[in-house]
Subunit: 338 residues, 2 copies
């Protein structure tokens, strides 16, 4: 089973490897370092699917000219605390990092900021930008649209994006960060379950006969994944797409789906500056009580552990900082040979 | 089966009846009219659970002094485009209507506005405020916390609110409005299914033995309802509560749950003024294409109809304006005798 042999790579080694591989392209040293940092920190936080495991595909898109490393976002229009930017098909993580920082600048002065970014590329892990804002003391609400990957409720063919929604809140020295895509399971999660010969923990889609199923292979066959909450996540995905596309004056899911790959997405970054609000000096104590209440829940079984969104990222970061980041040996080998 | 006999009441008669019943309390004529309008329009749009069917409980709360009809929201703090208001335990619909309008004023000048409202009461149908903003040409994102009504993922006892999230977008002469609570089914929906001896259309919770079930009676017995998307809606509910409580400096779900009824909630109203943004003059055409793509889905079966969020409200409004608002005869009789 060498294909699933896992090795541990130190964050330093991972980051320097990423930088080396990115500098082959037209990135500035600063941009290569920032991009490598984002991929490494996503991996440190345990989101390997949008960290180290995704790096080869990112490089592939660079090679194919789908992501343009020299391009920088351009301001299209400003209206009060809202700015529309054109991502110019630059690197998604760099564009999103920039947009988050710009939204923070707007919020610092005005209480809120909103960047609507068109023509950008996959931001990898959306939660990164929630953490970015929250660790600086701001609240964050952001989302992206994606390519069509999921049938609307009542449909057989995929017209909706999984359009991840991210919300971040500063909490003590860390943050509460929700990073929630609108599909119940990603294709990656279903492929992993299939590889391990496991059922999904809950119903994840329809089989080819139209029956709800927890069999990942049946769903990988039918491509009929389920939105979270059936009709509810279907509606939320739709609305997130419409808002992202019209606020950014960018492409909607059905247009991204016409592209050869998932490129030229539309994204929203909303920041809130809570620092001067009434009661905010006591917010950590207030959140402590909310967390305490959650954790006082009667667990469903011995395996159940009540966690708030983002808590697991902190645990992973601690473990992976100490022990190194777990990577499939085959994936790391691929990266070394990119 | 006289208990489920339905009659049709004209919107004019419904509204004037509500006004008469409200004027018994200390409402101004203007406030009684506004409150009656909201209850009537919610019913017109087909959301009877938070329109006519809920009116008796609203009156009960007035009688018991849980909702204070004379009280008006008070500004607590302003920071740029954010304002914190104290709802002063006034009528939830009036407070929410006010907060939405105030957020629109802020957005008109500054691109965005955010009202964080503490110490308010049930806003009835959250979608109302999404429509309110969207029909004036603004985008809207808002939510409320509630009392504890749903177990967190992995828990047996209810610690989470269903914390409805509302998003509104102007579209042609109407709007796209999502109004989504974080529980898969409301208790009202389960009670209705039980009354009709029907199963739920999908899994809605756990029975008392800890098995997932679509049997409404089993869930009404166990009180173990499911969050939308299992762990995902559980996390979203949690984060919405934390944001609402800390931004408004108001109560969190666990504190509302200590009250004798669901009162003193915390709510967020975010508005976005898109009117001067690049491309916005073409947005209806862009949305037409998104809607067209959705509706071109291959349906799951002959019964499936692809609708966007809010589409059904327009259909109901049209039908109920023409034919009158359908009301259970017993409910209307109750209201006449309040």
């Amino acid at each position: 089973m060498s294909a699933i042999k896992t090795i541990r790579i130190s964050p330093q080694e991972m980051k320097s490897t990423f930088i080396k591989k990115l500098m082959v392209f037209d990135f500035s040293a600063e941009d290569a370092e920032k991009c490598a940092t984002i991929f490494t920190e996503n991996s440190l936080d345990g989101v390997y699917s949008h960290g180290v495991n995704r790096f080869p595909r990112f490089v592939d898109y660079l090679k194919r000219g789908l992501v343009l490393p020299k391009n920088k976002p351009q301001l299209k229009k400003q209206m009060g605390v809202i700015e529309q930017w054109d991502g110019a098909m630059g690197a998604g993580p760099l564009n999103a990092f920039f947009a988050t920082n710009r939204a923070l600048e707007l919020a610092e002065e005005n209480g809120m900021g909103c960047i609507a970014l068109s023509n950008t590329n996959h931001w990898m892990r959306g939660g990164y930008y929630g953490w970015q804002a929250a660790k600086k003391g701001y609240l964050y609400i952001g989302w992206t649209n994606t390519t069509a990957i999921m049938p609307a409720w009542g449909a057989q063919d995929s017209k909706l994006g999984n359009n991840p929604l991210v919300m971040g809140i500063p909490y003590r020295k860390e943050a509460i960060v929700l990073d929630m895509s609108m599909s119940q399971f990603s294709y990656g999660a279903m492929e992993l379950a299939s590889l391990k010969n496991q059922k999904l923990p809950v119903t994840g889609g329809y089989d080819s006969d139209g029956n709800l199923t927890d069999d990942p292979d049946a769903i990988l066959q039918s491509l009929r994944t389920l939105p979270v909450g059936f009709w509810k996540g279907s509606g939320l995905s739709f609305v997130l797409d419409v808002m992202a596309a019209i606020l950014s004056d960018g492409l909607a899911v059905h247009q991204v789906a016409q592209k050869e790959e998932e490129i030229s997405c539309s994204q929203i970054f909303i920041t809130i500056n809570p620092k001067k609000l009434a009661g905010y000096d006591q917010k950590d104590t207030a959140i402590d009580e909310i967390v305490k209440d959650l954790k006082s829940s009667m667990p469903m079984d011995e395996m159940s552990k009540m966690r708030y969104p983002g808590e697991r990222a902190v645990e992973s970061r601690k473990e992976n900082t100490e022990k190194g980041i777990p990577v499939l040996a085959a994936v790391w080998d691929d990266i070394l040979h990119l």
